[in-house]
């Protein structure tokens, strides 16, 4: 019943916040994710386990650290939409930065 687990995974605001954080980056550690939420590390760990069961998050061991990545397939169109949109804005804002750059000195992308 993976469909049901996707819904219940999405029903919690902390888990939705975790998915948003993961959608913004390639991968993140538990510590990085816990720093973004006003809940304990243990709670974040439990949320990640649930998201993992729903197939929304994959855990990969890198050395001594576990990295979490979004596996958005169960979200299908919604996440594809967000990724497509984010990529379009990245391109547009890079062009705007170049357009506005004075003396050939470009600005800095703060958060891509």
């Amino acid at each position: 019943m993976r469909e049901d687990s996707v819904f219940s995974a999405l029903s919690d605001p902390s888990r939705r916040r975790l998915l948003e954080s993961l959608a913004d980056r390639e991968s993140a550690s538990l510590t990085e994710l816990a720093g973004q939420l006003p809940v304990t590390r243990q709670a974040v760990s439990k949320h990640l386990a649930l998201l993992g069961q729903a197939g929304l998050v994959a855990a990969t061991r890198v050395g001594r650290e576990t990295r979490y990545t979004l596996t958005p397939e169960p979200l299908g169109e919604a996440i594809v939409w967000m990724e497509r949109l984010g990529a379009a804005w990245d391109e547009r804002l890079a062009r705007l930065r170049d357009h506005l750059a004075r003396d050939g000195q470009a600005g800095t992308v703060v958060r891509a």
């Binding site: 819904f7 979200l75 804005w89 804002l93 357009h99 506005l100 000195q105």
Partner: protein, 120 residues
């Protein structure tokens, strides 16, 4: 559902505002063909055939520009908000695009699911 991006621009807010609202400048970085009026909105066209119609919801010069735009062929509608903040380096520009949730999610649009996805 919302996408947010932030960029630090090497120009003061007044110049960034011009780049966001002047059709000639918009054609330099945003779209290939731009008809735009900060009072009314306009039409953006891209060479790949993409078209967006836009209306301006809020224009606070040098600070905040909010537009609602949609694809006249597909109906996808979203709100784009540009927020400009003066910083020592120039301007911090934050862009958010928020999808309205009344368009179809295609195959996924069955009871409950759309609401949950929109909550993202």
């Amino acid at each position: 559902m919302e996408v947010e991006r932030e960029v630090l621009l090497d120009a003061p807010p007044e110049e960034v505002w011009e780049a966001l609202t002047d059709p000639a400048q918009l054609e330099e970085w945003f779209a290939n063909d731009v008809e735009f009026d900060v009072e009314r909105g306009g039409v953006f066209r891209w060479d790949d055939g993409d078209v967006r119609h836009a209306v301006v919801e809020e224009a606070d010069p040098d600070r905040r520009l909010a537009i609602r735009w949609w694809d006249p062929a597909g109906g996808e509608e979203s709100e784009v908000v540009f927020t400009l903040v003066a910083v020592p380096e120039g301007t911090r520009l934050v862009v958010t695009e928020t999808a309205s949730c009344d368009w179809s999610w295609g195959l996924q649009a069955y009871a409950g699911r759309q609401r949950l996805l929109c909550a993202l």
